[in-house]
Amino acid sequence: MRLKRLIAGTIMAGTLAGAALPAFADELFVPLFSYRTGPYAGSGIPIANGMHDYLAMLNERDGGINGVKIRIEECETGYDTQKGVECYEQVKAGGALVISPYSTGITLQVIPKASVDKIPVLSMAYGLSAAAVGDTFPWVFNPPDTYWDGASAIISDIVRREGGAEALKGKKIGYIFLDAGYGREAIPLLEQMSSSMGFELLQYPVPGKEMQNQASQWLNIRRDKPDYMVMWGWGAMNPTAVKEATKIRYPMDKFYGVWWSGGNDDAAAGGEAAKGYRTLNFHGVGADYPVIADIKKHIVDAGKSQVDPAKFADNLYNRGVYNSMLIAEGIRRAQELTGKTVIDATDMRAGLENLDITEERLKEMGMEGFALPMKLSCSDHSGHHKVYVVEWDGKDWQKSGDWFSPDVEMVRPLLEKAAEEYVAANAPWPERTEPCLSK
């Protein structure tokens, strides 16, 4: 009995020690922070599936990237910052090429560590807006748009519909947001716009633990009657808000969500009544793209995906695909720049910084029409790319209107100011020493 225990204990200890071994050298280790559990799983699952499936498809179809397999490993964070830090430490030890935190809270936490540990952070259209300033944040990337771009784009669309910026004077715009780092990120910009354009900004914070009960916020909204509503929601907050909005009969075509409030399940909670609900987007919707067909052929039909077939290629799934495409292209670019096939995290940083996805490249990847060309530079880690609005037709998202640019002239100086403030608040912030490779 005792001997048996001793043996079991030794085996356990041995395997634990084995777990700490570093990664195999001829792989590209891409960890994915995911959350398939907890209150944010509703948004987290499609994203995690999309991200995983695209990279897995590259492994199956092309044998990895330029012949090197990608090692995909998920780390469950549950959208919890504590677990995120744990995941970060875990993947750092394994030699991660890039971190995708998928939570603004976790992103804020790993930003200071990124430059010390020399691991790039790719927070695709989330995280700290000011991180777009590459001279200050050489290790952080937030393409294709920052939250401030998103907020300015929503206001631009409202201005377009109202027929001019003057028409906004005296109007009321409500902002309902998840009361966490994520939801607050857009407030400074909206406040700035409210004072410069003369509209009144009404704020409706939704605490994370009460996000499934928004009755009081929507009661206030019914009383205040804002002309437009803007939402920065995530997880279970989105479907709840859409449902509450339909309940108070808020005109849904005046209700805007940021790109993260655009899950199919989010809008479907309101059903037919949610018709007209609008969110921003920066990639294609639906399954009508060669790249999605490849994923279906190599991964989903082969039973290598966790995705529910009915939810394959929904909006957030496609966003996961888009995010993984950026990772893969970053790796490819790094391989080009260094001439090596097996790259490390420092090369990956250079690869992301010099990312240049052209129209031809998109066609090669089977993403024509799925995404627009994008380009990053040493000073601009976001790119402030074009976005478009999708509208819920009761069953699915439909493209409404054309691609348009966020208000870069207004956003960029504010971002630079915010980056300066961040540096001042976090002194001593390391100076950029990384060479700029792009010409």
Partner: protein, 359 residues
């Protein structure tokens, strides 16, 4: 055979009243101490950063709650918020006085937490048990609300989070911030936890600690015997909150590096309450056991299951870890309601008569 106290005669009161009166215990403590010092030189950064440092910090928080719940018998659900008070006051202090050694500020920030703890401890003079738990729950929600709604607390940071700046001390050693070495942070945390635990051990076995236990066992009898409930209960709240505050400040400054208010939510309070209950109410060593169990087990399961060849999705491991921890909590509460500390002392008693148990 190995662990026997026969033949060890105490000739002075001081020797008899020592914290570890048995020689074998002292040897054991010395070995644990040596291991604690040796760990950073052999373990990986992941082990130090993600397991040891938070384990020590949470053990300190568990000791804090154990003072209040285990020794003084006052149930509290506000531990997370009191940790938050420590963290936010340490953050404010270090932005106001950037040149003061951060360890001193950590120790001072506990005082703010103690003050708040005393205020929220006042109702304990009138109400007991579950009703008191509800008032501490109110403290939890109120303080959490403050962390979100009072921008002064997080220096008007637009993201609403506090970010730990780089601080140096002891010459030019980096103590906090992203460039601090895991080993430095571990030793700082270890030092603070050891010193504070020793101090608490002495409070607990002295006059004040005995008052707390009298209040816990029967407050009316204690009052009749001359214990003032006001001072006894409030001092328990003060000491408990102080420890939680110090733990909270270290949690942010030496482990997380940045925090949103949600880091100090009710979840954290419950996590620490489980540590105390599972480790053993009214036992300091139990707090360490409980912290190791609740903090360590999920990590071991998550790292261990895939390592022994059980290849399942990250979220399934997560679900399994949650279920196993839950089942083990129930198992332990049924088999040993006095917690791991009781198992520990049973083990020691068995060891005394080993290998010739009588009876």
């Amino acid at each position: 055979m190995l662990y026997r106290e026969s033949g060890q005669y105490k000739t002075t009161y001081i020797a008899d009243q020592a914290i570890f009166p048995i020689r074998e215990d002292r040897i054991g403590m010395a070995i644990i101490g040596l291991i604690a010092i040796a760990i950073p030189f052999v373990a990986s950064d992941f082990f130090l950063n993600a397991i040891m440092t938070p384990f020590l910090i949470l053990a300190l928080a568990a000791i804090g709650l154990n003072i209040l719940t285990g020794y003084a018998g006052q149930l509290s659900l506000g531990t997370g918020a009191f940790m938050g008070v420590g963290a936010y006051s340490c953050y404010k202090l270090t932005t106001i006085f950037p040149d003061v050694n951060i360890i001193i500020l950590v120790l001072i920030s506990g005082l703010f937490s103690a003050g708040i703890g005393v205020i929220f401890g006042l109702p304990s003079l009138r109400i007991k048990g579950l009703y008191l738990a509800v008032t501490t729950l109110a403290a939890q929600f109120f303080l959490e609300w403050c962390f979100i709604r009072i921008p002064w607390l997080y220096n008007y940071n637009p993201s609403g989070a506090i970010e730990v700046p780089e601080r140096r001390g002891f010459g030019d050693l980096i103590l906090t911030g992203p460039s601090a070495a895991p080993m430095t942070q571990y030793f700082v945390v270890l030092g603070v936890v050891v010193v504070v635990t020793l101090a608490v051990k002495n409070i607990v076995r002295g006059r004040i600690g005995r008052q707390w236990m009298m209040i816990r066992d029967m407050d009316i009898a204690a009052e009749l015997m001359g214990v003032r409930p006001l001072t006894a209960k409030l001092s328990a709240f003060a000491v408990s909150s102080y420890l939680c505050g110090v733990a909270g400040a270290m949690f942010i400054f030496f482990y997380l590096g940045a925090a949103e208010p949600s880091a100090f939510s009710i979840t954290l309070s419950f996590q620490i309450l489980f540590m105390v209950i599972l480790g053993g109410l009214g036992s300091l060593v139990g707090s360490f056991f409980g912290a190791a169990f609740i903090w360590g087990l999920p990590i071991v399961l998550r790292a261990g299951l895939p390592a022994i060849g059980i290849d399942i999705g990250a979220e399934t491991v997560f679900h399994i870890a949650t279920m196993v921890v839950g089942a083990l909590i129930i198992f332990f509460l049924i088999v040993e309601p006095h917690g791991l500390a009781r198992l520990w002392s049973l083990g020691k008693e068995k060891l005394r008569v080993w290998p010739f148990p009588y009876g």
